[in-house]
Symmetry: C2
Subunit: 433 residues, 2 copies
């Protein structure tokens, strides 16, 4: 197969799927694409793809299929339940990469279902991805894949085509483990997407120049991947729509549902989720998620005469940086604590997340200390937590003076504050233990 590239079917040609599928074409694969939206198929043909009008037609005689639809419901429809579903047409022993972000539960149920309908021969791979549309099109995604050894063995060359060699993670634990890995990564995404808006909204309410605030954050310890990739669109009227609000709402729901099912509390992600629902209620579902900054900026002229105590630009910038660092810390702790609860390899999770869309400087610096705490060791270092709590406190106090909401910042502060003072920053994860 390394020499001779097999024909591949590709179901779901959205922002991510289209990039992945056309990348395969560029690498010399014959790719037959299917999508419910006809204009996409035209575009796919123009990019050198073959097209099919049903999932069944797409997968017929293909030993390799990739499913990159938006939800578990859609996956179930195109594979089994819908009209002209794919599974009956899949050849014996076909490899199916399910790359959508779905609950661990779902992909495990799908595996059982395939067995119960007599298609246990299908080599299902639970392989969600991360990295955004640009990396999808470059074939440099982060991919986290769980499956049987046989399935992983056969799927590996195709997974390798789609991913950066350093970012293909084979996750121990079989079907479900890949989705769990993605889920804990999405804890970072769910919080840091909103945090980008919260930081920029706070900067705006403080009267800062937003370009300057953005630049300062990008070169500070508050850097995170989402902030870097979301905030540019704040300056272009939230155009183009790169990732709609409704996408992260779906992933957030997977996290909080699975948390409830397992008895694992997700105070940060639950807070973000309520604000995402608020955004849906405002009619923002289809807007780029950078536009969530509107939830923070709109009060500017409506809260009456308010006065903060921060004076200089430097002081104000420090408040915004402190806010974002504190949120990044609590996001990192919630993500790693959840990974621990679902028994993932924490070092693999950390390595994945640092190099994917969930990455942040805080995660990189403090993640190892969080893992030590989770594993019952004393985290290295003497200090850190109190400093971060103090910076959060300064931000929350100033926000209170100027009457601007800090949904995540207030939550992070209350979490950090509940812990007895001092100690390395990784100790914060005790709040989830």
């Amino acid at each position: 197969m390394a020499d001779q590239k097999p024909p591949v079917s590709f179901i779901g040609l959205g922002a991510m799927g289209f990039g992945m599928a056309t990348h395969l074409i560029k690498q010399g694969y014959t790719v037959t694409g299917f999508d419910v939206w006809a204009p996409t198929l035209k575009r796919f043909e123009a990019a050198g793809g073959l097209t099919a009008t049903t999932p069944a037609e797409a997968v017929a005689n293909k030993s390799f299929s990739v499913v990159m639809v938006a939800t578990a419901q859609q996956a179930q429809a195109v594979l089994i339940d819908g009209p002209n579903a794919a599974v009956p047409q899949l050849p014996q022993g076909a490899v199916v990469l399910l790359c959508s972000t779905v609950p661990c539960d779902y992909v495990q149920a799908l595996e059982s279902q395939l067995k119960s309908i007599g298609r246990g021969d299908i080599l299902l791979v639970d392989s969600p991805v991360s990295g955004g549309a640009a990396r999808a099109a470059d074939g440099t995604l982060s991919i986290m894949a769980g499956a049987s050894e046989e399935a992983l063995e056969k799927a590996r060359p195709l997974l390798a085509e789609l991913s950066d060699p350093a970012k293909l993670y084979l996750v121990a634990g079989g079907i479900g483990a890949g989705s769990n890995m993605k889920m804990v990564h999405q804890v970072l995404a769910a919080n840091q997407i909103l945090a980008a808006s919260e930081a920029m909204g706070f900067a705006d309410r403080l009267g800062l120049d937003l370009a300057k605030a953005q630049e300062t954050i990008l070169s500070s310890d508050a850097w995170n991947w989402m902030f870097e990739h979301r905030t540019p669109r704040i300056f272009t009227d939230f155009q183009p729509v790169a990732s709609a609000v409704q996408i992260i709402v779906k992933d957030t729901g997977i996290i909080t549902s699975e948390g409830r099912r397992r008895g694992f509390a997700t105070p940060m992600t639950s807070t973000a989720e309520q604000i995402y629902f608020t955004a849906l209620g405002r009619g923002y579902a289809m807007d780029d998620d950078s536009s969530l900054v509107r939830l923070y900026t709109e009060g500017k002229d409506k809260v009456g005469p308010v006065h903060g105590t921060s004076q200089s630009e430097e002081e104000k910038l420090a408040l915004v940086v402190g806010l974002l660092k504190g949120i990044n810390l609590c996001s990192a702790a919630e993500s790693l604590a959840f990974a621990h609860a679902v028994r993932l390899d924490l070092h693999q999770v950390l390595d994945l997340c640092i190099n994917a869309a969930g990455g942040s400087k805080v995660l990189q610096k403090i993640g190892p200390s969080i893992i030590q705490q989770l594993q019952g060791q004393s985290p290295d270092g003497e200090t850190g937590l109190q400093e971060i709590a103090q910076e959060l406190q300064a931000a929350v106090e100033e926000a209170q003076r100027i009457k601007t909401p800090l949904y995540l910042g207030a939550q992070a502060f209350n979490i950090a504050k509940r812990l007895p003072g001092g100690g390395p920053a990784g100790v914060v994860v005790k709040a989830w233990a």
Copy 2:
């Protein structure tokens, strides 16, 4: 004095102050009122009061003065800092009841300030009130008064005129203790005002008839005073404006600021505060606080085709009741834990709160068990916490399906869930310990 009623000055004739001052007139007092808003003075004259054009003029030769302005800043202005301030004109040994809701800090600083400007003779009483405008006008308020023994002794008859005999609380601890008592009471108010809107908004999003939902809640274990007194105005386009959003914002700020100062985390009240800031940002500051329901209902037609799993009206009503009970429980726990942290007499706090605007059936039933837990005893009873957590979970899950935010409900659920399963409901307060 019981026989011969002394002349009284009254500074601040807003919704509460006007009622209190005119009640004193009806009881035979000569009351000289001052307010910055001229039309109020006309109305006060019509009600039989005398009026003054400055605080200094109002208090001249009055051995008893009541200050019922909105904020600590206003109190400081009318007493000391503003033009024609009252203090220089107060006769030697005058009794001053500061009935405004102010931070403990402030009233303690005021006491020191009086001493430092040579007016240590003034008998200051820290005596915030609760009960709403109707009880103010009836002279049946709840009052929590802290002061020196001499001041309390002299102030008592006047305090008794303004309060229900069973609801006058003399709080041990001197100046500041009354304000602390009010602050912990306001934890209940801050959460339960928003909770009224959250419960009714959730009912609306579930498709319930709101009058039926209201009636069901009022006769259920989810009853609380705020719900009973706020929700009627949901049916009258939020008219009349009985208590504006900006009022509870101020009290909420006292709670969270004092919490930060003392290192006491207030996860419930902090959540409410962010939503209050959201409301200010929407331009709702001057609207009746029952109108916060808009923050929940507006998404009705904007969240796309969503489907809950609850079918019958009964099932849906149970979700709303469960939500509100869970919020009431966590409000009660946050209030009593904070009272414990500021060293108030917990049984006095409980008695006060049950009989004031912070009252709820949950507080009445579970408050004693929360106090046992706080005092290191094992709370009575075997069960309760898990049931409440399960009811919260059912509400949060359905809200997620229909994409409606439950700001307080999600927070309460995450708090209740973090605790190891089982045990009496009072155990929930461990989350604040």
